[in-house]
Symmetry: C2
Subunit: 296 residues, 2 copies
């Protein structure tokens, strides 16, 4: 069995025609071959959405949460509504077809398809995960970078798609290159009016005493699926949790902080803009053990 | 001969390896077949750039300007430097392979390729242009929408890629849907601090008396190739030209206004946020005739 699997959906949305009427709901495709039209709006305009779902010992984690966020992103982009039952089956089949591994992930992508064609493109790509042991134990250096938007953009200007997980991620990639130029590995975005937001592909969590906190979701940021699980972990452990509006100065004084995401899981922050941050090794290890062993 | 041609480059950048060592610099491909990997960062992350070049009676217009802007966008995204001579040849071959038409266009796309592969993907898609007669003569209704960014973002936060023509255009598409909800066809972006910027795929030009003006390029907007040609047209006609910092209120009092772009050319604005704007039919016709008959 392979370490990578590509599954293409025949009819990603019940609202739109199938690619091959009467064909099976999805088919496995050769990962190494071209499968997408160069005219697909996914690549010509970054016009689509995605979710990355972690797979621990063969089980999709936070699966319902990912699927509902996928549907929410589609709605924000006025995409044809994804047929979540077909997506669920295609993702499960992708996981089944993957060679066993301790950690894998499936990335689901829905694009608007070829302009004027009316049929969205949808696929699930499954792969073994890279080894994130170093990041999870030693932590990573992070810099704060301006996101350019005010903290209230989601309310004033919904057409800016804040809070939707789109494939238009050129900026999310550019900020990581900027971080590397500054000797760091990752980024926390700050709004133009000085509120701490999220990472380009992760959610921020920080600890103050016995409380784990995260930026309030009402700031045009993604509602983190992994953050929700970390909060469940915290509650089981007797820690308090809170959603906060945080400034960079306030974040600097946290006892510990993490960037959490589906595939990399919880990665402690060891430095913020060159200032050392305490790495809570025991809590990091417990958090990652919990996330790796989730049973939805 | 066909009305659409797809040309794939073997080595889009001299800095990066060829896809097939020793193969010819580019090859024609079937427009109707999938030609791109679903793992290409162009589609998974919108990580790439493009240019749309108009072709009038078989001639690429503002060709050098487009190629230099393509290289500038690549630099802003830290992409491997495009080999402009290979791109020039591939685009000219695309034009030659197209069936004759009064107006065509070629869209050039460069993506970072598959993650970790190190070989960028590059292609040129040529097509006959849609008929824009109605838009060019009757004009279009336009709404002003918040771009979310301050006017000085390009200087304070270059990682936001303002002024680079990336394929991460989900927002540029979303604003047009918002315009349609408001009974309009297109958009002019306004900075979060109230400065008029550009259209999602066009440059704004407006007339006051005998002056044609456009927003200053130092506002994180694209340097318009068509706008540059319209200014040349204006100078030949004895009109003054200027680059200005404009507010929405000031724009409302212009004598006429246009959105100009490579393929649609100069389209007069007939209404701005539901307020009628004078359509200068004579000047619009002269402008479009000039743009259609350019000889670089």
């Amino acid at each position: 069995m392979p370490s990578q699997v590509l599954t293409i959906l025949n009819q990603p949305s019940a609202d739109a025609p199938a690619h091959e009427p009467g064909a099976s709901p999805f088919r496995f495709a050769d990962v190494a071959s071209p499968q997408l039209s160069m005219l697909d709006l996914g690549v010509t305009r970054g016009d689509g959405i995605f979710e990355s779902i972690s797979v621990g010992n063969g089980r999709a984690q936070a699966f319902d949460h990912h699927l509902s966020r996928f549907a929410q992103s589609a709605a924000r982009l006025d995409l044809p509504t994804p047929d979540l039952e077909v997506w669920r089956e295609a993702i499960l089949a992708t996981i089944d077809a993957l060679d066993d591994a301790e950690e894998s992930f499936v990335k689901a992508v829905l694009t608007r398809g070829i302009e004027g064609d009316g049929r969205p493109s949808g696929w699930a790509f499954g792969s073994h995960s890279p080894d994130f042991t170093r990041e999870r134990t030693e932590g990573i250096r992070v810099v704060l970078l301006d996101r350019g938007y005010r903290h209230d953009i989601q309310h004033t200007s919904p057409w800016l798609l804040a809070g939707a997980k789109t494939i238009s991620y050129a900026v999310n990639r550019a900020v990581v290159r900027e971080a590397e130029r500054r000797g760091a590995e990752d980024v926390i975005f700050v709004s133009s009016d000085g509120i701490v937001l999220e990472g380009p592909t992760s959610t921020l969590i920080f600890r103050r005493g016995n409380t784990l906190a995260t930026p309030h979701v009402d700031l045009g940021i993604l509602e983190g699926t992994t953050q929700a699980n970390v909060f469940r972990f915290a509650e089981e452990r007797g820690l308090s949790t809170s959603y906060e509006v945080v400034t960079p100065e306030s974040l600097q004084s946290a006892d510990a902080a993490w960037l959490v995401s589906s595939v990399r899981l919880a990665v402690p922050i060891s430095a913020l803009d060159d200032k050392p941050v305490g790495v809570d090794s025991e809590l990091s290890a417990a958090m990652n053990s919990y996330l790796r062993n989730l049973r939805d």
